[in-house]
């Protein structure tokens, strides 16, 4: 069992077309395992893992794994609101999943408002690229165009493989660090009635403590 002590909890949501690999990505991230076959997600599933950001602060990531299937779309919409970060997931071997990314992003922005989440663009199934074409797998989304899209929209971009584990950790740490940085700069705050960021079991007054610390640091600078 993981060490249950953490300083913050961030709620991240994974969105994207069905079968792009959201659940597999999360399974690898939280379990270190990869399943060749898995049932499609119903509504939303939950995963959790504690990571550490650069200064050693322990962050519990509560990960909302939404169903990509069209029929659940009306339901998953309800789940966006309390997220502080959103991973826009596409399949590098599925062109249309990448083309739907702007729609997913707009949807997320609309439902998470007035909060501004941290977005990351995550390409999945990178392990299929470069192998022979027997599986019919072929890169349909180049790294360059994905990166370009990410830059235009101010997102982080990373290509991953839930099979080999490549960049899986990085994708989540990237978002967590960015959220944490925004807490440090005061852009994000713990708010009543919004569960995007919560303080952990460890520190009931964690937020105050941190704000105080940040202020003192600033004052010494000036």
């Amino acid at each position: 069992m993981v060490d249950p002590i953490f300083d913050y909890q961030f709620r991240l949501i994974l969105i994207g077309d069905s079968t792009v690999g959201k659940s597999s990505l999360l399974k690898y991230f939280t379990d270190g395992k990869f399943a060749e076959l898995s049932d499609p997600t119903v509504g939303v599933d939950f995963f959790a893992r504690i990571i550490e950001v650069q200064d050693g602060t322990r962050i519990k990531l509560q990960l909302w794994d939404t169903a990509g299937q069209e029929r659940f779309r009306s339901i998953t919409k309800s789940y966006y609101r309390n997220s502080v970060g959103a991973l826009l997931v596409y399949d590098v071997c599925n062109r249309s999943s990448f083309e739907h990314i702007p729609l997913w992003m707009m949807e997320a922005k609309r439902h998470i408002e007035p909060h501004r989440p941290v977005f990351a663009l995550v390409g999945c199934k990178i392990d299929l690229v470069g192998t022979d074409n027997k599986n019919g797998a072929r890169r349909e989304v180049t790294c360059e165009e994905a990166r370009m899209f990410a830059e235009e929209n101010g997102l982080h971009h990373v290509e991953t493989s839930a099979k080999t584990g490549l960049n899986v950790e990085e994708a989540f740490v990237l978002v967590a660090q960015e959220v944490y940085n925004r807490i440090q700069t005061g852009e994000y705050k713990v708010e009543d009635g919004w569960d995007g960021i919560k303080t952990g079991f460890n520190r009931p007054n964690g937020m105050d403590f941190n704000l105080l610390e940040a202020e003192t640091v600033q004052s010494t600078c000036c």
Binding site: P4, V42, G43, F46, I75, S78, N202
Partner: protein, 577 residues
């Protein structure tokens, strides 16, 4: 030369009484400086004669010390009370000040300055001696005996040095028994850096910078002021100053150096007032120097560990390192303990466990759905005319009634079918209850959890502690509740995307499922309390406490489950309107 030596020693001893001070002053003014020129030639010779003589006067000074003991209290008292600020207070800093200018001066004229310098060196020696013996500067004042002995030496030295013009060699020769510190200071100024040890460095620092002495300008100013205001005490000083001024040109020193002059006068005065005052002052000075020296030595180096290590007096820094390691370990253990306690606290904290098993987040997600659907229902009703709205309200009410929990009935508590395990029976009940729901709900996690609990209860060590059983009980209840909430959440999601609704059946199915689940919770609680009761522990009270808590948490679990059910109500209702 020898004659003058002995004379000086005598005068020093005599000088310890007030009456003879003035007389001695006169003598000094006439003899001391005028002799310097001659003495400078015969320095080396002196050394040999002196070494022999030092012992004798020492015996004599014992008498002087008796005097001192009597006289001193007054003196020191006045000092402490600062009633007479001018002579003594000034004297101390002045003497100290002199070390700096003297260092330069001495190059030109090694006369009076050196007397004083040696004295100072000796003071330091004594302080160092004390330091070595007591290692506690604070004890210095209380360590009267020790100080007495030391001061005896000082008086000897003072007395001898007072008339000694060229005491460079003198101090060097006689002081073989005196410490390295003298040497350190002498050499530091004279440039014998080879001998400078850590200690002497420290002492030089004291002499140069420390002992709380006012800076030279301040002193000079003070002197001027005093001369102007012509305080009675200053009269003593004035002739000295003149003398010093007179003396300086003789020695070939700077003519217009009034500060130096006054400093020199300080020296002279210091020498001249060798009596009880000097000794009293010397004693205080000694203390001050000793303390300051210790402070400087210990600055950033408590216990002198580093310096001792540097001097090779210790067996290296091993004990220090081990100490650090020990402390670090203790600290780490303390942190671990705190962490462990937190974890421990969390382990048996129902809400936290419920959260860890994703129960809370499923409940929350279900709540989100529920709210959304409720809003949708209200929206629909708003667009309708009042009559239809009333119909819908009635329908909603009917569905809500269908979902009311039946009265507790123990009758259908039929035993599980023959040849069927408890978990299987549980699974069957759940499936029977929800067969009209029209959904493929997954109960495996709940059944597996039940199996695990039963296995654990059967296989666990009969000597297991009540704490462990209690922990497992709370954890199992939290997990079971979380899994149950998950089922409601999934059911709600699937109902919302279900193409054809049959609200009445759905409501009935969910109600039955709720009954099965709450009964299951009771069953779990009972299993664990039975286990607790089977434990033969002398701490019956603790066990009863645990049992109470388990039933409390079971009640908590049932509440969560029924809340989840109530949250699912709008989802059932929307199928009907």
């Amino acid at each position: 030369m020898p004659s003058s030596d002995s004379e000086d020693f005598e005068s020093a001893d005599e000088g310890q009484t007030h009456t003879e001070r003035k007389e001695r002053k006169k003598r000094l003014s006439s003899s001391n400086y005028s002799e310097n020129a001659l003495e400078s030639d015969s320095g080396p010779k002196e050394t040999s004669t002196l070494t022999g003589k030092v012992e004798k006067p020492k015996a004599k000074t014992t008498d002087g010390w008796d005097d001192f003991d009597i006289d001193n209290p007054e003196e020191s008292n006045t000092e402490v009370k600062s009633k007479e600020p001018s002579p003594k207070e000034e004297k101390q800093p002045k003497a100290k000040e002199e070390t700096q200018p003297k260092a330069k001066e001495n190059v030109k004229s090694q006369d009076t300055g050196w007397d004083d310098f040696d004295d100072w060196g000796q003071d330091d020696v004594i302080s160092k001696n004390e330091m070595e013996q007591t290692s506690k500067p604070v004890n210095q004042s209380s360590n009267q005996q020790q100080t007495d002995r030391d001061i005896k030496e000082v008086t000897d030295r003072l007395a001898s040095a007072s008339t000694k013009g060229n005491s460079w060699g003198w101090g060097w020769g006689v002081d073989s028994l005196l410490s390295t510190a003298t040497a350190g200071i002498t050499t530091a100024t004279a440039g014998f850096t080879t001998l400078t040890s850590q200690v002497s460095q420290g002492i030089s620092t004291v002499l140069e910078s420390g002992i709380g002495a006012p800076d030279p300008e301040e002193l000079a100013r003070k002197n001027n002021k005093e001369a102007d205001t012509s305080a009675p005490k200053v009269e003593d000083t004035k002739p000295d100053e003149v003398k010093a001024k007179e003396d300086q040109p003789n020695a070939g020193a700077n003519d217009g150096a009034f500060p130096f002059g006054s400093l020199l006068s300080g020296v002279t005065k210091f020498v001249e007032t060798t009596g009880t005052k000097v000794i009293a002052g010397g004693l205080d000075t000694l203390e001050t120097i000793g303390k300051k020296t210790m402070e400087v030595l210990q600055d950033g180096d408590p216990g002198l560990a580093k310096k001792r290590a540097m001097l090779g007096l210790d067996s290296g820094d091993k004990p220090v390192l081990s100490q650090i390691l020990r402390e670090a370990k203790a600290k780490a253990e303390e942190e671990d303990k705190v962490r462990e306690e937190k974890r421990e606290a969390k382990e048996v904290h129902y809400e936290n466990l419920f959260d860890d098993f994703e129960g809370l987040v499923h409940l929350e997600a279900l709540e989100m759905l529920s709210r959304q659907v409720t809003m949708r229902i209200e929206e629909r009703m708003r667009g309708l005319d009042p009559e239809k709205r009333q119909d819908i309200k009635e329908t909603l009410q009917q569905v809500a009634e269908l979902c009311e929990m039946p009265e507790e009935d123990d009758e259908d508590d039929e035993p599980p079918s023959e040849g069927m395990s408890k978990p299987d029976a549980f699974h069957e009940k759940l499936q029977t209850a929800t067969q009209d729901l029209g959904l493929k709900l997954v109960f495996q996690p709940l059944v597996k959890q039940y199996t695990d609990v039963l296995d654990w209860l059967d296989s666990s060590d009969p000597d297991i502690g009540e704490k462990a059983v209690y922990k497992r009980a709370v954890s199992s209840l939290a997990q079971c509740t979380a899994l149950a909430v998950l089922v409601y959440h999934k059911a709600a999601e699937m109902l919302l995307v279900k193409p054809r609704r049959s609200t009445a059946d759905e409501a009935d199915a969910l109600t039955q499922m709720t009954v099965v689940l709450t009964k299951h919770i009771s069953e779990l609680a009972t299993l664990f309390t039975e286990k607790l009761n089977s434990i033969s522990s002398e701490n019956k009270e603790q066990i009863n406490n645990h049992i109470t808590n388990i039933f409390l948490e079971a009640g908590n679990s049932s509440t969560y489950i029924q809340n989840a059910f109530q949250l699912a109500l709008p989802i059932l209702q929307i199928g009907a309107v």
